[in-house]
Symmetry: C2
């Protein structure tokens, strides 16, 4: 007995999503075919569109559909402050605290030698170029307070201090081992105000 | 601060998948954009293809790309036996027991009055037409042994017996409250051999 090949292909393709195993891929495929074909078509369009249109901001490296993202183009922000985060989700969390009015650099990852993720994967050259533009005065490291996030912060700190930049780190108001995305905004706000030079 | 609209659209569309909340939709979208654009494009194609091509077998109601599915066209099978299951996944489980050589009807659901799922939603008219074709002699009810599956079996049994058909039910080798998909093949095999007339 064979299931139709386009259904097999769909089930198999759904497994490309993180956290989706064979059973849940099958359930998703059946659900879409049985109850939500419009949803399947919409998701199909969304995937193609995003894969075609989304690229990285030339300045801060975050996802954008333009050459330079809206945040980097915002003239109201303090261009002397550059906050380094791991992901766009972390950036969003910091924005929500309303304690920071500078610019950002999004690493899109963290150093993780065991997983083969080195300085190139977190766009370190791009960060160095950005941070040494002559306008940035202080780099605020807001990577996660996990082992990998701390190691990433340390590595970036050493690299940028060697180039004469002032580098600070969010204060340890963030619980050790915690991930920014899951911490309440109040804690992040305190940590932003208490940030210390490294 | 705004994330690019095609990324928002993707995150929103991923929530059409069952079991995917806002946080995991965002993680999936970021993962695809950051690490697997080819996967995003492939899944996009798979969704469009499946939504266009997959339809219901005119005989057994399961998913197929043809008018009649391969199982229904298989001349080696006993056309006097018709096994009724809730989903294609349940049918697959029964096939794997190698104890059944008849044909199938796939309800694509189960009766669930509380959720507003009535006889029309489980294609009861199509099942009646199929079962009363003059060839089928016995209908084997293999819906799940949950409350809803039992109620569905009871309802179908009454309906088909009123039309003079022999109706049997998988024996209670399947644990009460259990779902076929999660039961081992040996148990299902025993239940198939011990099926009883209802
Ligand atoms: Zn930017
Ligand atoms: Zn069929």
């Amino acid at each position: 007995m064979k299931t139709p090949s386009s259904l097999d292909f769909l089930t198999e393709s759904l497994r490309r999503l993180p956290g989706v195993g064979p059973k849940s891929a099958q359930r998703m495929a059946f659900h879409l075919m049985q109850h939500d074909r419009e949803g399947a078509l919409q998701l199909g369009r969304a995937l193609s569109q995003a894969a075609e249109r989304v690229r990285h901001c030339a300045m801060c490296n975050t996802f954008t559909e333009r050459e330079i993202c809206e945040v980097c183009l915002d003239g109201e922000r303090n261009p002397e402050l550059l906050c380094v985060v791991e992901t766009p989700g972390d950036q969003l969390m910091i924005e929500q605290t309303l304690t920071y009015k500078g610019l950002y650099f999004v690493l899109m990852g963290r150093l993780s030698p065991l997983d083969g993720i080195g300085p190139r994967d977190i766009h370190l050259e791009k960060l160095i170029t950005r941070a040494t533009d002559g306008v940035v005065k202080e780099v605020v490291l807001a990577t996660n307070f996990t082992n990998e996030g701390e190691a990433t912060a340390h590595y970036i700190s050493e690299t940028l201090k060697a180039r004469g930049l002032k580098v600070s780190r969010l204060a340890r108001g963030v619980p050790v081992g915690g991930e920014l995305e899951y911490v309440d905004a109040g804690t992040i706000a305190r940590a932003m105000l208490d940030r210390r030079t490294t």
